[in-house]
Subunit: 368 residues, 2 copies
């Protein structure tokens, strides 16, 4: 068990990475203060695989708890599901010290986190990610939110959890495609800030894909440490630093949106986005072709896409969604571009024609 401390201006919290943490939930709940009630927000699949283990930990504690089931996937991040959580909290007369546990993947953490951020103007929030993506990325850093019909993540709040538990034994049951999709975020962390992590994934890819617990602990802890550091320096994305975490995401979100969030998983879209951003950077002469290739080769070995079928995206749909993205500043597009493995810079003068050129260049081959 390894613990990281995230120190922020108004608060601080721990990220605990280890094995068998959920069965010891009672001990962790005690740290969060004198709660009397817990609402576990989860979805059917995570629950069917892991809820029994979580309940074992809950029953040992001195709290009453209820389990709330979201509709799975991105559909859960809707105003309608959010309202259902609020109603459950009101029905159970939650007070400000009572705890909300987000138990699931990134979508569950986002909507449950936003509910915790806004119900009674803030309940203690415990993030327990059941996917690699949640453990390495979304459960850390306090971004919470929901989608609107008009776009993804348009509504949300920065709201820090009181505690993050990343129990890597939960990842044992992950389907291969999901492990793979989440690896995109790990490789992303390597490319933006941690060359050693990148190399670790290169060397240990087989162990990771076989859900070897030692390898998983290493990549979860390393990714969490990098992300926590970035968040400490720029909690609310006001100083530019946090933006580097969006590497691959400006393209990635647009790809997801252009498919109405169907088809591509988030991590797959991010992988495509990383390939696109690397190409854009290479076209500017900022990134050596060898580094672009090395990034893409690792993504591909992990089973992630770096090219797409010309028919898979309509260019104008991708562009339109990009223009609705939060990362626009004054109409100019802003991108995080790699300059080496482990180093990125921010360009906020990217033109539409650079974007279009990139889209055309990466559309040549089939998606794996």
């Amino acid at each position: 068990m390894r613990t990281l401390q995230v120190k922020l201006i108004e608060t601080s919290y721990s990220i605990v990475v280890g094995r068998g943490l959920v069965e010891k939930l009672d001990r962790f709940l005690k740290r969060l203060g004198p709660a009397r009630k817990v609402l576990v927000v989860t979805e059917r699949r995570a629950a069917s695989l892991h809820l029994a283990r979580l309940e074992k930990g809950l029953r040992k504690g001195k709290v009453s708890y209820q389990v709330f089931f979201l509709q799975g996937g991105e559909g859960a991040k809707s105003a309608a599901e959010l309202s259902r959580i609020y109603a459950a909290l009101a029905r159970n007369r939650f007070e400000r010290r009572d705890i909300l546990i987000a138990f699931g993947g990134g979508g569950v953490g986002d909507v449950a986190g936003f509910a915790a951020a806004t119900y009674l103007r803030g309940l203690p929030l415990l993030q327990i990610g059941t996917t690699l993506l949640a453990q390495v990325d979304s459960s850390i850093g306090g971004k919470t939110g929901i989608n609107l019909p008009e776009g993804k993540n348009l509504v949300g709040a920065f709201y820090q959890p009181s505690l993050v538990l990343s129990d890597v034994t939960l990842l044992k049951t992950l389907p291969r495609r999901e492990l793979t999709a989440s690896l995109a975020e790990v490789i992303k962390v390597g490319v933006i800030r941690d060359r050693e992590l990148f190399q670790y994934v290169e060397k240990n890819l087989d162990s990771i894909l076989a859900a070897d617990l030692t390898a998983l602990e290493h990549i979860v802890f390393s990714s969490a440490r990098i992300k926590a550091g970035v968040v400490e320096r720029d909690e609310k994305e006001t100083r530019g630093e946090r933006m580097i975490l969006n590497y691959g995401h400006t393209f990635g979100h647009a790809f997801e949106a252009a498919q109405d969030y169907r088809g591509l998983r988030h991590g797959e879209a991010v992988a495509l986005g990383m390939a696109a951003a690397a190409r854009l950077s290479r076209n500017r002469g900022w990134l050596r072709p060898a580094d672009e290739m090395r990034q893409n080769r690792l993504l591909e070995r992990a089973g992630l896409p770096t090219h797409w079928n010309r028919l898979a995206f309509k260019e104008d749909r991708v562009i339109r969604h990009m223009l609705l993205d939060k990362k626009i500043k004054g109409g100019k597009l802003r991108f995080v571009l790699p300059t080496a493995l482990g180093r990125v810079r921010i360009a906020d003068d990217v033109t539409l024609s650079e974007v279009k050129k990139t889209l055309r260049e990466l559309g040549g081959k089939q998606v794996p």
Copy 2:
């Protein structure tokens, strides 16, 4: 024109109190950064009285603006109206630097403020209260939120405005009942923390009720100063200090809720709540009867209720709503109780039987 600075941990902002501020809006907008778009959230009545003046100021600026009309009153503080604001922001492709102006009474400020808090995880917010209540209380301090069917203000966020403009000339057109209702919050500030303000209202009540601008400037500035100081010391209601602003509100909210938010105005409910809290305090031997009477006499002179018809509230409904209130801690009721004019303390050991006794004692006379 007088300016107050509210200094918080992560941010700070100005409260400007004066005359003819809205016509100079262009100058104030410039202070808020490089916005290109403004959404004015307002409701029909405030708009019919004052929008032309605000638009005069807006047209002088270099921003494009749109006006969004909420349904008036507490009905505006709903998830449905909030969704309509989000849709307007998305439709107009608002970016993070674009500005939302809340232009209206407390309800408008609450829902528009919550939209600003959560759209793209936070847009710059300009609060321009058009009622005395908004100017002395709700536009300051960053409490934003909406009501749920299950209870008032159950969902919200602490989100500080970037600027508060309190133009007292907007108050000239206020109906008497509304001026009066808002005075409850001014008198509240006097009772909790500012004996001089209490005495000022006692001496200048006629000028205030005649909407004399000098008198209004004085009470708006004094109330804002006290509230800003409390908020500075306890921005997110975690240290107890901010709770003193809730004087009269635990009872008050329950009265409003017991009437389904119809009938009583917020300020009237607060006046009743102050009378109830003062009585509870007196019954504990904490407040001299002379001070209770002096408070109530001023409330009554201002046209505010301090007693109610026995038929007006069902005791069990009031109690039920109180138990759903955010200010419960561990099932015990928590109240802000006055110990003198200008001084309060917090009691978190109030029993249901004390509450019931108080309710019975104050139910003896007619509401004025």
